[in-house]
């Protein structure tokens, strides 16, 4: 079974849990005491991942330490349609968004770690960089909508959308409000309405899709 070294509040770990659920793969979860234990910085953990970062995905001899690589692996294993259309353009565009998701992590993700777990950082600069990245995403999604498309690449959701979604959806934790990004709001609603979507603290399923609570 594929094992995920996991921390429930991590945006990158959630990315992998979400992908696994969307392609219908069950993972074995190994909870890592990221906070306050700093277990991912321990010598034992670094034997597996010298970078001392989460998540880590292990399948037999294969050890992956980059969440975007994990998305590729899970999709290729169980839901190849999530890799996007098999054209030179689409393959390159997916790679472009996977790399872009790193910029979201370095800005919105760091701002969140700063505000939630008191990580060091210039919070104003992190938020400004976050807004710059969101403006790019908003412009791209706006053009996609002009073409009648809801997703970043092709006609269906792909690993590109899943790679970018978590840090955007959690941006408020880092003091970055999404009110000014209508195309991002609708894209986020589309992702949250996907079949087999899973939640994490701070990211909810669409309540409107849930039945109303029954009174007893």
């Amino acid at each position: 079974m594929i094992r995920l070294y996991d921390y429930v509040l991590s945006a990158s770990c959630y990315k992998v849990r979400l992908m696994a659920s969307l392609v219908g793969l069950k993972l074995e979860h190994e909870a890592v005491d990221f906070h306050p234990g700093l277990e991912h910085k321990s010598a034992a953990f670094r034997q597996m991942n010298p970078a001392g970062t989460l998540p880590v995905l292990m399948d037999g001899d294969l050890i992956l330490t980059e969440s975007t690589a994990m998305l590729v692996y899970l999709a290729r294993m169980s839901g190849p349609e999530w890799l996007g259309p098999d054209t030179p353009q689409a393959l390159a565009q997916v790679q472009q968004w996977l790399a872009f998701s790193g910029r979201l992590a370095a800005s919105l993700g760091r701002a969140r770690l700063h505000d939630m777990l008191l990580y060091p950082g210039d919070i104003d600069a992190l938020r400004r960089d976050g807004h710059d990245a969101l403006r790019e995403l908003e412009a791209a999604l706006t053009e996609r909508r002009f073409a009648g498309r809801d997703w970043l690449v092709g006609d269906a959701p792909s690993i590109a959308d899943i790679a970018c979604f978590p840090n955007v959806a959690l941006s408020q934790d880092g003091g970055v409000v999404l009110d000014d990004y209508p195309a991002i709001r609708l894209w986020s609603l589309s992702i949250r309405s996907l079949d087999r979507f899973v939640e994490m603290p701070g990211i909810h399923r669409l309540h409107e899709l849930r039945p109303a609570p029954v009174e007893v």
Partner: protein, 208 residues
């Protein structure tokens, strides 16, 4: 001529069953559309404990506050309080409504007692909304072809074509939001990119 109506968004950004944050000058609002398409705008404060209703969710013809689940109908009246399921909520518990109208693809807001109708923008095509961290003066300095105050209009040339542009200005505390429309035959992608470039120029004017 000045109007009390302020554009808060474009209709294509608020499909049925969705709630978003709106703003009329300094008043923050929750603007939402029910499942059947009824439009409502309320002060963004839940009558229960004042939390933001725009963080809530639409279910059918009601908006629920995310915090403790109080349910409001499209008329603003509280219909249900989950902690007291058998209680019929008193009439006095109601969200404070603003006037909200969808016209020519634009969502307009005004205080409830507004008497005039929103401005008409017939023949134009909604493009997109985007926010700037600068004010109106910097925007006007960045593009001389635009004239007006709350509604900027002009013919702008890019890509070798003259394009009719209309920008609805929504003030906010740290800048402005523009709701852009263009001539019916203009290329939406080209207009959107022109807007990005305009924003870049306008914000740079302030940095200078």
């Amino acid at each position: 001529m000045t109007t009390r109506w302020i554009a808060t968004g474009l209709c294509h950004d608020l499909p049925n069953g969705v709630v978003m944050a709106g703003r009329w000058h300094d008043t923050e609002l929750a603007v939402w559309r029910s499942a059947s398409g009824k439009l409502a705008a309320w002060k963004d404060r839940c009558p229960h404990r004042g939390m933001r209703l725009s963080h809530g969710f639409v279910r059918g013809e009601t908006l629920s506050c995310i915090y403790h689940g109080w349910v409001y109908g499209t008329d603003g009246g509280c219909k249900h309080i989950p902690a007291h399921p058998s209680l019929v909520p008193p009439k006095a518990i109601r969200a404070e409504a603003f006037s909200c109208v969808a016209l020519d693809g634009v969502l307009w807001l005004a205080p409830a007692d507004v008497s005039e109708a929103p401005p008409r923008l017939g023949g134009l095509r909604p493009v997109r909304s985007l926010s700037l961290t600068c004010g109106l003066a910097a925007l006007m300095a960045a593009e001389s072809a635009l004239a007006g105050k709350d509604i900027l209009r002009g013919s702008v040339t890019f890509g070798g074509h003259a394009v009719e542009i209309c920008l609805l200005v929504q003030p906010k505390p740290d800048g402005i939001t523009l709701h852009a429309l263009c001539g019916a035959s203009a290329d939406l992608v080209a207009v959107s990119r022109w807007l990005e470039a305009l924003r870049f120029k306008a914000e740079e004017k302030v940095a200078e």
